[in-house]
């Protein structure tokens, strides 16, 4: 029996080769999720009835089912409808769609917190609804959403691990390969857990830094009667 430390050092290069994919999936998922979440929130808050219902259906469906089921539905299920996606594409789409539903909720919360008064004042100087949304509401809502939103990259980083079940070559998949090679699953998964911990810590620190950078005087959970 070798010590865990030796084990960790010996297989670190092997594990690190999966880290790129994990980080890529996280970044792609956060970005795609941001675009989807923003679109869904705008549709839900300012869209007509059809768009509002569509957005609600999307958000509820993806928040109401396990990510793993979504991954399987895209990777194993869609070929049944004649659509075949690669492992990576399935993983990316599932993560993006899933994250989008959660990001939509963060944004909606902050749009509601800004209050109707800002929209009223913008309309009063002759702005159209969508101009008011883009120049007045969103610049405030996005800043306001940052503290809650800052958890999303970390939680998505952890969530990417489930795509090892469709064998996307990321961290967990590497750990599994090491486990089957060494017959020491506990050390293998402990090693990958240590790596995840380090990554989570780094992403978290980056988010805290972002939070500091985007702070504006007086602009935190603004409340006002309209």
């Amino acid at each position: 029996m070798i010590s865990f430390f030796e084990f960790f050092v010996r297989f670190l290069p092997d594990l690190l080769s999966g880290m790129g994919m994990t980080l890529l999936l996280t970044a792609e998922g956060v970005l795609a999720g941001f675009i989807l979440g923003l679109a869904a929130t705008l549709a839900r808050t300012y869209g007509g009835k059809f768009w509002r219902n569509l957005a609600i259906a999307y958000i509820e469906l993806f928040r109401g089912t396990p990510l793993l089921v979504q991954v399987f539905l895209l990777y194993y299920g869609l070929p049944g409808l004649g659509i075949t996606l690669s492992r990576e594409w399935s993983a990316f789409l599932a993560l993006g769609l899933n994250s989008g539903a959660y990001q939509a909720e963060y944004l909606r919360g902050s749009i509601l917190a800004i209050g109707e008064g800002q929209m009223l004042a913008a309309r009063a100087i002759g702005m159209s609804k969508w101009k008011a949304v883009f120049y007045i509401i969103l610049p405030q809502a996005l800043r306001l959403a940052i503290p809650a939103w800052a958890n999303e990259p970390v939680s998505l980083l952890k969530a990417t691990s489930v795509v090892f079940l469709i064998a996307v070559p990321e961290l967990m998949t590497r750990a599994k390969l090491i486990a089957s090679r060494t017959y020491d699953p506990i050390s293998s998964y402990l090693a990958v857990a240590v790596l995840y911990l380090v990554l989570v810590y780094l992403v978290d620190a980056a988010m805290k830094w972002l939070e500091q950078r985007t702070r504006l005087p007086g602009l935190s959970a603004v409340n006002e009667s309209s």
Partner: protein
């Protein structure tokens, strides 16, 4: 045919529900324990609880599940996949539930503890009769969210071969060559379960709410 589909996958539903019903209370008990020693314990046990929370919440549940599963079904302890998986999920959830309870305990505030001690209660009595009844009410909404997370995370025990909804869906997909229907049905069942859990706990929150607003 759709009926048979659902009937087959529904058999997995009872397993999913069972996993959740083991994991959630286990997580609650452990979480409460950790929250209490964090808030009221001495320096070292309090530090230990804090590190436990940070580490457990910093690692993906699936990675923890594998570590715990292999620990619980090894030579020393040898549990079935169902029990090993359920207990593992419970341990994972305990860190998240600890945070929820810790926040609730803190929100009740020092004043309540001081007032309880002032009428002659011991520290334990104050926690038991004054702090906890208030904290539980505050914790219900975030706890309800955690309950649906545990329910959704129960799909992870698929990976260690527990015959829950997703495993059933996969078997069905293989035998019928209808993957979209099989996994679609699984998604639908989860959706209904999550919906029921959220609604049920909303009702509980409504019922236990104290008159007037609580901070």
């Amino acid at each position: 045919m759709i009926n048979q589909f659902f009937a087959y996958i529904l058999q997995g539903t009872s397993v999913t529900v069972a996993v959740t019903l083991v994991a959630l209370p286990l997580g609650l008990i452990l979480g409460l324990l950790f929250a209490l020693i964090y808030n009221y314990g001495g320096f070292w046990v309090s530090r230990f609880a804090a590190v436990y929370s940070l580490v457990m919440r910093g690692v993906p549940p699936i990675a923890l599940l594998f570590i715990l599963y292999f620990l619980l079904s090894g030579q020393m302890v040898n549990l079935s996949p169902f029990w090993a998986g359920s207990i593992s999920l419970g341990i994972i959830s305990s860190a998240y539930q600890m945070e929820i309870l810790r926040g609730a305990l803190q929100a009740v505030g020092e004043g309540q503890m001081i007032a309880a001690r002032a009428i002659g209660m011991t520290r334990l009595q104050a926690i038991r009769y004054i702090i906890i009844p208030q904290a539980i009410r505050l914790a219900i909404p975030p706890w309800s969210n955690e309950a649906s997370i545990v329910l959704k995370d129960s799909s992870l025990v698929y990976a260690i071969g527990v015959p829950e909804i997703l495993r059933r869906a996969q078997q069905l997909s293989a035998t019928t060559q209808q993957p979209f229907l099989a996994f679609g049905a699984a998604a639908l069942i989860y959706f209904v379960l999550v919906f029921l859990v959220n609604r049920g706990l909303d009702l509980l929150a409504e019922k236990t709410k104290l008159p007037a607003s609580m901070a």
